[in-house]
Symmetry: C2
Subunit: 267 residues, 2 copies
């Protein structure tokens, strides 16, 4: 008798070699690699659902994935080494938990956290150049942080949505904005973390592109409020490069996960 079981896995990947998360005709996708690993384990083609797409060159430290299996009998966490055995070196499954059968990694995501990395320094870093946007000018991180305050909370973010993947509503809620840098006066090794209940297409990269104009002194921090209110993409700055972006975490309600109900101590 077949008992179908649904699982949630988190996966980290270096997006450099891929055409993005989602299947496509002319490039290898991370989704394809993940499905190939599952196919080797289950013996038939297993479709998976990601929490959302990441573009070509964008990385992930915690993309969320759901899938349903017919043959797997072992505990959920045993899927981690089983999947990694078939993964290429730039994709790694981190965790796996069993869920309610109706769980869906995209529809049930309640928030996401992204990080954007920038390096402002004279000498390039040969080991991390694929993971941050390198600029040669100094950045005023305090001005950038000040500008970001206008974006906190619920707003219409139409000014920060790129063409190509329109959403029904352009209203989103930014729950958190965290800046960290070795040196706030020069912006050296700056990291910007943005958490929201959802993101429009290219929203993080368009916000970062605008913050950079403010950080280098081309625009004052107060202009961010006006840009937001115009609801016009042309008012905001350029789209920041893909390779500085990383999907850090996807949030879900706890009640989807079966181990929440397990009182025996086994998973």
């Amino acid at each position: 008798l077949t008992r179908l079981r649904t699982f949630y896995a988190t996966v980290a990947y270096d997006g450099t070699a891929y055409g993005g998360w989602q299947f496509q005709a002319n490039a290898i996708s991370v989704q394809q690699r993940f499905e190939e690993s599952l196919t080797k384990i289950e013996g038939y083609r297993v479709p998976i659902i990601g929490s959302g797409r990441t573009d070509s060159g964008v990385h992930a430290e915690g993309q969320g994935v759901s899938f349903t299996l017919a043959n797997w009998r072992a505990p959920a966490d045993r899927l981690v080494p089983a999947l990694n055995r078939h993964m290429p070196r730039d994709v790694s499954v981190l965790t796996c938990r069993e869920t309610l059968f109706t769980f869906h990694a995209q529809r049930h995501a309640i928030a996401k956290r992204y990080r954007y990395r920038i390096r402002s320094a004279q000498s390039p870093d040969p080991f991390h150049s694929l993971y941050h946007w390198r600029v040669v000018w100094p950045l005023d991180v305090r001005a950038m942080e000040q500008a970001s305050r206008y974006l906190l909370g619920e707003h219409d973010f139409a000014s920060f949505q790129s063409h190509g993947s329109p959403r029904k509503s352009t209203v989103r809620t930014i729950r958190d904005f965290v800046f960290s840098s070795i040196d706030v006066l020069s912006g050296q090794d700056l990291s910007i973390v943005i958490e929201a209940n959802g993101f429009l297409y290219n929203m993080v990269r368009n916000i970062v592109g605008t913050l950079m104009e403010i950080g280098r002194g081309k625009l004052p921090p107060e202009v961010m409020k006006e840009i937001l209110e115009t609801r016009n993409r042309k008012a905001a700055g350029e789209t920041a490069p893909a390779h500085g972006l990383c999907l850090i975490h996807v949030f879900y309600d706890d009640y989807w996960f079966l181990d929440q109900y397990d009182t025996s101590g086994n998973s």
Copy 2:
């Protein structure tokens, strides 16, 4: 009137895409990329001298390089951005200082420091897999550190020299051995730093390969003393993979550097 000036530069590189430091027929070398950049600045082919070779896949955070220029008139440190303008993304010049004319980065090196990285963990790390040796077994770091004590000081390291590049003498002095790890009981993210007045061919990788046999419990720490005394390569462990190795620093006497004599405050 041409005034020849000699310079010392430090350079960092990700060795993944290269056939090693040194020029060769069938692969791109870091040396070639460095000389191409100098050629663009000087207008003629400039030969350079590295402190030593690094093998294919080996990285550097501080390889040392010397060269003599006929046309450069600006201060030495201005060569850093000038060179980086022509470098690929995986090679970066960090510093540049003017030296006495007879300075030679290979002959005058008095010591070198290497780091070898190992990751012992269930899930692979997709962002750093090209920079550490990943193993799936736990490592007893205290046993490895104990074994390393037998190698400190002046010894004949013939047991740790690979074929292919014999030296006149196989006696070297290891000045320092530093182990660090997130967890000494499991060996997670272990880093081994070795500093010596010189290294035989593959010496660090052969020492690390032997330490790993001890770390995973196949050999007791005391066996290191016997392996050293046999002066026989076959007694020691396998050669550790190249991509875990990084040349961190090359040491020279201060008196080679002209800025040591400069009392005006200018370089």
